[in-house]
C-alpha cells in the first residue's frame, strides 16, 4: 500500500461510520447479546429507553446528525487520534512491536468524548434540557460536563465520595465547566453507587432528563449505542495499523472496567479471526486476595444496573465490592457484549494487579514520555505480558484510552514521591526530581513498596 493512498484511507474513517454502518454483531430486537444484555429495569424507565432507542435509530441514518457528529469530532475532539510507535517500551515486551492508539490525545483527555458528544447531540434532538451522568475516575464526568457546556445543557454528575477524593482534580474540572458534582455517600461510595444514584435521579426526572451513561453497560440501547459511538477507535486504528505495518495486529489490548474503550477498539477486529482480542481487568491487590474488580475473570452471570452480564456477587446475589487503584475500573459489573465475547472465546480477559499496572505506568512515562491514565496502564501492562508470550514478530495494538494528568497525585503517593498527607500540588518539586534521578528506569515502583500506597 503506498503512503499516499494509505493516508487517504485513514483520513476517510469518520466517527459516523461507526453508527451508520451496522457492525454485523448486533443484539436482537430487545437488546440481547446471546443471553446477555436486555432490559433489567423498572417499568418507569422503559418509555425513556424506547424514546432513546427510537431517537438513536433515526439519528444514525440522518445525514444532518452524522455530519454534525463528524464535524465536532474533527474540529473539537481532534479526531482521528494518532497511532504511536513506542520502540523503547517495546524492548520491555520481548521485542514485540507495540503501537499505541492515542485516545489520550482527544479533547478532555480520554476516549469518553466519543460517546458523550453523540449522546449530547441526541439529548438535544429529544428536546431534553438536563443531563445526568455517573463517573468513576471523572473522565466521563469531565467529557459530559464539556459537551453540556458546549451544547447549553444542564449537567449533574454523580460521583462516589471515595472517587471525589482520589480524583479531586477532575471534580474541579467538572465544576469549572459548569457542572454540579454530587458526591455519593451510599454503599462503597464508588462508581457502582454513583450509577445507583443516577438511576434514582432518572426514575424521578425521566421526562426532562437524559441519563448520559458512560459505558457499554446498562439497559438496551446503551450497550449497543455507546459501542457504536466508540467504534471509531477501532475503525481508525485498523486502517492506521494496516498503513503503518502492512498487516493486521497480532493482538489488541485494552483495559476493561465497564468495557467501553475495549469494545470500541475490539469491534473492528471481531471478524479478523487471526487477531487476538485481550481485555485486561483490574486485579487490584491480586484476585486471590478478593480485593479486585476482575468481573469477567472472577465473576458470574447476573443482573445489575439494567443488564444481564457478568458481575461480582456473593452467593445471595448481593453485589460484591470491587477494588482497584484505578477509579475508572473499580466496578463490579461489565458490558454484556464482553460477556458474550468471553463465552464465545472470541475475546479473552485477564487480571492485571495494581502493582503491575503501576510498573507499566512508570515504564511508559520513562521510556516514551507519555503519562497514561492508570486505567490505560493496565492495558500497557497487559501488552508487556502479551509481548513476552508472542515474541518479537508480534504487533500489539494497545488502546491508550486516557492520559494520566488526573492520576499524578495517586502515582506520586504510590511511588513515595510525596508524603501521605501532602498533595502533589503542595509537594516540594525537588522530591519528584530526586526520585527521577536516583531511581533507574522503570524501577521507581520499588519506592512504592516502602510506603503503604494509596490505601493508607
Amino acid at each position: 500500500m503506498s503512503s499516499s493512498t494509505s493516508v487517504r484511507a485513514s483520513s476517510r474513517v469518520t466517527a459516523s461510520q461507526g453508527i451508520e454502518t451496522p457492525s454485523g454483531h448486533e443484539p436482537d430486537g430487545r437488546g440481547h447479546f446471546g443471553r446477555y444484555g436486555g432490559r433489567w429495569v423498572p417499568e418507569a424507565l422503559v418509555a425513556a429507553l424506547d424514546e432513546l432507542e427510537t431517537a438513536y435509530e433515526k439519528a444514525r441514518h440522518d445525514p444532518e446528525f452524522l455530519t454534525e457528529l463528524d464535524r465536532l469530532h474533527r474540529d473539537y475532539t481532534g479526531r482521528p487520534s494518532p497511532l504511536t510507535d513506542v520502540p523503547k517500551l517495546s524492548r520491555h515486551a520481548g521485542g514485540a512491536r507495540i503501537l499505541l492508539k492515542r485516545e489520550d490525545l482527544n479533547h478532555t483527555g480520554s476516549h469518553k468524548i466519543n460517546n458523550v458528544l453523540g449522546q449530547a447531540l441526541l439529548t438535544k434532538r429529544m428536546g431534553k434540557e438536563r443531563v445526568i451522568a455517573e463517573t468513576g475516575a471523572g473522565q466521563h464526568g469531565v467529557a459530559t460536563a464539556t459537551a453540556c457546556a458546549l451544547l447549553d445543557l444542564e449537567c449533574v454528575v454523580y460521583m462516589g465520595e471515595v472517587d471525589t477524593r482520589r480524583q479531586a482534580l477532575n471534580v474541579a474540572r467538572m465544576r469549572l465547566l459548569g457542572a454540579t458534582v454530587i458526591p455519593v455517600k451510599t454503599g462503597s461510595r464508588t462508581l457502582k453507587d454513583a450509577i445507583n444514584e443516577a438511576l434514582r435521579d432518572w426514575v424521578t426526572n425521566v421526562d426532562s432528563t437524559h441519563y448520559l451513561l458512560g459505558t457499554v453497560a446498562g439497559p438496551h440501547p446503551f450497550p449497543q449505542m455507546v459501542r457504536d459511538f466508540h467504534r471509531v477507535i477501532g475503525l481508525e486504528a485498523r486502517a492506521q495499523v494496516l498503513e503503518r505495518t502492512g498487516r493486521l495486529p497480532t493482538a489488541v489490548a485494552a483495559c476493561v472496567g465497564g468495557g467501553s474503550n475495549a469494545i470500541g477498539i475490539f469491534h473492528a477486529f471481531i471478524d479478523d479471526p487471526g487477531v487476538r482480542l485481550v481485555g485486561f481487568e483490574p486485579g487490584g491487590d491480586g484476585v486471590e486476595t478478593g480485593r479486585h474488580g476482575a468481573t469477567l475473570s472472577e465473576g458470574s452471570p447476573g443482573a445489575l444496573h439494567g443488564a444481564f452480564s457478568y458481575l461480582l456477587q456473593d452467593e445471595d446475589g448481593q453485589t460484591a465490592e470491587s477494588y482497584s487503584i484505578s477509579a475508572g475500573l473499580d466496578y463490579p459489573g461489565v458490558g454484556p457484549e464482553h460477556a458474550l465475547l468471553k463465552d464465545l472465546g472470541r475475546a479473552e480477559y485477564q487480571p492485571v494487579t495494581d502493582a503491575e499496572a503501576m510498573d507499566a505506568f512508570a515504564l511508559l512515562c520513562r521510556t516514551e514520555g507519555i503519562i497514561p491514565a492508570i486505567e490505560s496502564a493496565h492495558a500497557v501492562a497487559g501488552a508487556l505480558r502479551l509481548g513476552q508470550e508472542l515474541g518479537p514478530d508480534a504487533v500489539i495494538l494497545v488502546n491508550l484510552s486516557g492520559r494520566g494528568d488526573k492520576d499524578v497525585d495517586t502515582a506520586a503517593k504510590w511511588f513515595g514521591m510525596i508524603g501521605q498527607d501532602e498533595s502533589a500540588e503542595a509537594a516540594d518539586g525537588t522530591a519528584i526530581a530526586e526520585g527521577r534521578t536516583e531511581q533507574p528506569t522503570g524501577s521507581f515502583a520499588d519506592a512504592g513498596s516502602e510506603t503503604e500506597g494509596i490505601q493508607a
Binding site: 432490559r39 433489567w40 422503559v46 445489575l304 444481564f308 445471595d316
Partner: protein, 268 residues
C-alpha cells in the same frame, strides 16, 4: 384467617366493602427475629397483605429510608434464605405474605428453586420492581408451576400498550406506582395516582394497588377511593425504627381505618 391466594385476600376485602391495606417491611430488619415480630404486628394491626422485602445491595428504586433499613438488615447478617423462614413464621402468625425483591438475588438462588421454596414457606407471590415481563420467561414458568402470583409494576410513564402487556402478564394484583420516583413517604398524594389507575382499569380485571408515598390515614382513604389496594412502605419502616412492633401495629390500625372509611373504590 389467611387467604390461600392474593386473589382471595382482595376478594375478602371486597366482600367487606373496602379496599386492601398492603404493608411493606424488609425481612431481617433490624434482625430476622425482630422483623418477624414487626410483620406479625403489622398484620394484627390491619394489613391485609404483607410485602416482605428482600434487602439488596443496590436498591435503585428505593429512597433513603428503605435503603437504610436494607443496609441495617444486611449488616446484621441477613441471608437470602432468611426470607423463607420469615414468610413461614409470619404466615403461621396469621399474615398473608408476598415477597418484594429486586431480581438478581432470585436469579442467583435459581428462579425455579426460589419459587419452590417461597411456595413451601406459604408465600403467595412475588412483586418484582426491576423485572419487566419482557425478561420474565423463567419467572412465568416458575410462578405457574408453584401457583405464585406475579405482580409487575405500571408507571405514569408507561404507554397504553405497555400497560396492556404488563397487566396481561400479571396475576394476583397489579402495582401502580403513583408518582415518578423512588420510595419514600410524601405529604401529598400526587394527582398522577388517580390517572394511572384510571388508565390501567380498562386493561385488566385484576385489583390495582397504589404505592409510593402514602403515610397517613387521610392519604390512605384518598387512594382507597379509587384503588383496590393501598401500599405503604417507608412509613412502616420509619415507625418500626421509632417504636418497634407497637408503633407499626398502631400505624396499621390508623391506615386500615382510613382504607375502611373510603369504602369500595369508585371505578371510573
Amino acid at each position: 384467617m389467611s387467604g390461600r391466594s392474593v386473589a382471595d385476600v382482595f376478594a375478602k376485602c371486597r366482600a367487606e366493602g373496602r379496599g386492601a391495606l398492603v404493608g411493606y417491611l424488609p425481612a431481617g430488619y433490624p434482625t430476622v427475629d425482630e422483623g418477624v415480630e414487626l410483620l406479625a404486628a403489622m398484620s394484627e394491626g390491619g394489613c391485609d397483605l404483607l410485602e416482605v422485602g428482600v434487602p439488596y445491595s443496590d436498591p435503585v428504586m428505593d429512597g433513603p429510608t428503605i435503603q437504610a433499613a436494607a443496609d441495617t438488615a444486611l449488616r446484621n447478617g441477613f441471608r437470602l434464605r432468611d426470607v423463607f423462614s420469615t414468610v413461614e413464621r409470619v404466615t403461621a402468625a396469621g399474615g398473608n405474605c408476598v415477597v418484594m425483591t429486586y431480581f438478581n438475588p432470585v436469579l442467583r438462588y435459581g428462579v425455579d428453586r426460589f419459587a419452590a421454596d417461597l411456595a413451601a414457606a406459604g408465600g403467595l407471590g412475588l412483586i418484582t420492581p426491576d423485572l419487566i415481563p419482557d425478561e420474565a420467561d423463567e419467572w412465568f414458568a416458575a410462578s405457574d408451576k408453584y401457583g405464585l402470583s406475579r405482580t409487575f409494576l405500571v408507571s405514569p410513564s408507561s404507554t397504553d400498550e405497555r400497560i396492556a402487556s404488563t397487566t396481561a402478564a400479571s396475576s394476583g394484583f397489579v402495582y401502580a406506582t403513583s408518582i415518578m420516583g423512588v420510595t419514600g413517604a410524601r405529604d401529598s398524594v400526587n394527582s398522577a395516582a388517580g390517572e394511572i389507575v384510571g388508565r390501567t382499569r380498562p386493561h385488566t380485571s385484576l385489583p390495582i394497588g397504589v404505592g409510593l408515598g402514602v403515610r397517613n390515614a387521610d392519604q390512605a382513604a384518598e387512594i382507597a377511593g379509587f384503588a383496590d389496594g393501598v401500599i405503604v412502605g417507608s412509613a412502616f419502616v420509619s415507625a418500626a425504627e421509632k417504636g418497634g412492633p407497637d408503633a407499626v401495629r398502631d400505624l396499621a390500625r390508623e391506615l386500615a381505618a382510613g382504607v375502611a372509611r373510603a369504602g369500595l373504590p369508585q371505578r371510573a
